[in-house]
């Protein structure tokens, strides 16, 4: 199979939600910024950056949570020369790269129009891309490992959504201590300690790598994947 055909196939198997989620999330975030009635450009810029830091990771996280348990005849996948977990890793990559393309394009538009710079804690146009990259990869990894453990997109999606909502509703409490601050997803738009930003972004990426490795270990036990998902 030609590589491009393969990747196109994996994109289809990742599902519509993985493809539609990030652009829909950006559209909703931009709409929220447009209808916001609070005075000041900084508030509007914060909501626009929030679309990248909050909405895109949620869409990507739920997309990644829905990768395991989608194949109707997983026995065929397990019998193929390519290990199934490599196939799932490719779908994870497709989901995250697509979210990154959407977020990167949105960020470029925000930088070009000057809205990026209007949020004081923006961390510049280059390192600032970690605004969306770190939480997207972090929440994506949470979704992937939850999907691998539960084998149920419903449970994994519920867990990703709950973690995301927790950090939204308890922003201050979640960042009270250093470990919580390091793993806080929305440090650019809601982080009270700007000095922790770089550490936070790197910690999220590190945690994501660890979680994906854990998911691959869980997925190596292929007999767990046979049979219907946890209905």
């Amino acid at each position: 199979m030609r590589p491009l055909t393969l990747w196109r196939y994996e994109a289809r198997r990742a599902g519509w939600a993985a493809l539609l989620g990030p652009p829909v999330a950006v559209a909703l975030g931009v709409s929220a910024a447009l209808v916001n009635t609070m005075p000041g450009d900084a508030t509007k810029a914060r909501i626009l950056l929030g679309a990248l830091e909050m909405a895109v990771p949620l869409a990507a996280g739920v997309g990644c949570a829905s990768l395991v348990g989608r194949d109707p005849a997983v026995e065929l996948q397990l019998a193929a020369p390519t290990p199934y977990r490599v196939t799932l890793l490719r779908r994870l990559a497709v989901t995250l790269v697509w979210a990154a393309m959407v977020a990167g394009l949105t960020a470029a538009v925000l930088i070009a129009t000057g809205w990026w710079a209007r949020w004081p804690a923006n961390h510049g146009p280059f390192a600032g891309q970690l605004t969306w990259a770190a939480p997207t990869v972090g929440l994506g990894a949470v979704g992937f490992v939850a999907g691998a453990v539960f084998r149920s997109p419903a449970a994994a999606g519920a867990l990703v959504s709950t973690v995301w909502t927790f950090q939204q509703l308890f922003a201050d409490l979640a960042q009270e201590h250093l470990p919580g601050r390091l793993l806080y997803l929305f440090a650019t738009t809601r982080g009270p300690v700007p000095g922790d930003w770089t550490g936070n972004r790197l910690a999220l990426l590190g945690a994501a790598a660890t979680l994906v490795a854990l998911a691959l270990v869980v997925l190596a036990r292929s007999e767990r994947l046979i049979g219907e998902e946890d209905e």
Binding site: A17, N36, T37, F166, L169, L173, E176, G180, E231
Partner: protein, 275 residues
């Protein structure tokens, strides 16, 4: 309702309940949510037994507990229910079920009530567990009465509203995409301040139960300084925010249940068109 319809409804309700309540994920997701709740300091759950943090008033404490449990556990509730109705099509059992004498509408209502009740069992277990522990710890048995009342006028209508949309909406979009929309809606329609952007928060369509909390349970936040319903100066959609009175509180509950019925009827119509 004919007796056959009633039997079909009862049978599918019992079956869906048993099927859902045995799913490990229905228990694991709320359990992990409670663990997160306990880990993050300062939340009411952890401070329930700390006399310095919790309110002296049993009613305020158990109603505040309900608000926190309802806000957070409803997210998992909606996400877990999102695959229930589309599942019949995915497993290709829908045509077999359609061939039985049981009417599709009765099966749909049975599935709605059965799966919805089963997914609510862990949430109610968490809530009443903590309320009972509080009642024993503080020697205030009336806490359990307030917990029952809060459950009846706030949690149950909210969950019925969520369950109807969680069942019906995935018929017209992929279930994961519904989960993203639902979480976004839950935050926007319940928590966002009305003077920040147009929102359904504090309106009659408020699944967190602002009107019943305010007018039926006289709850104004743990500190007593919050308002959960009614008009906000300068906010849009204020026509949906009448002053909170017992009548508007019951009206709010009726609106939530009516919208749930509309969502279910819409889901039924979509399935009927596809059949």
């Amino acid at each position: 309702m004919t007796s056959q319809t009633a039997r079909a409804l009862g049978a599918s309700l019992r079956y869906e309940f048993r099927m859902q309540v045995r799913k490990p994920s229905v228990w694991i997701v709320p359990a992990l949510t409670v663990v997160l709740f306990l880990l993050i300091g300062g939340s009411l759950l952890r401070d329930l037994f700390d006399p310095d943090e919790s309110s002296d008033d049993a009613r305020t404490t158990v109603v505040g507990l309900a608000v926190q449990v309802h806000t957070l556990l409803s997210i998992g509730y909606g996400c877990l229910l999102a695959d229930r109705l589309v599942r019949d099509d995915r497993l290709r059992v829908a045509p077999i079920l359609d061939a039985t004498p049981a009417r599709p509408s009765a099966r749909l209502v049975g599935k709605y009530l059965g799966a919805g009740a089963a997914t609510a069992v862990p949430i109610l277990a968490v809530y009443f567990g903590f309320a009972a522990a509080y009642a024993v710890h503080t020697g205030a048995p009336d806490a359990l009465g307030w917990a029952l009342a809060t459950c009846a006028v706030v949690i149950v209508p909210g969950l019925l509203f969520v369950a109807a949309f969680a069942l019906a909406v995935p018929l017209i979009m992929p279930a994961p995409l519904f989960r993203v929309f639902f979480v976004g809606y839950w935050l926007w329609g319940n928590v966002v301040a009305p003077d920040m952007m147009p929102t359904l928060a504090r309106t009659l369509i408020h699944p967190l139960g602002g009107y019943p909390l305010d007018a039926l349970l006289d709850f104004h936040g743990i500190d007593g300084g919050d308002t959960w319903a009614g008009p906000v100066p300068g906010a849009t959609l204020n026509f949906l925010r009448p002053d909170p009175t017992p009548t508007t509180a019951w009206l709010s509950i009726a609106v939530l249940l009516a919208l749930a019925a509309v969502a279910l009827a819409g889901g039924h119509a979509v399935r009927a068109r596809r059949a």
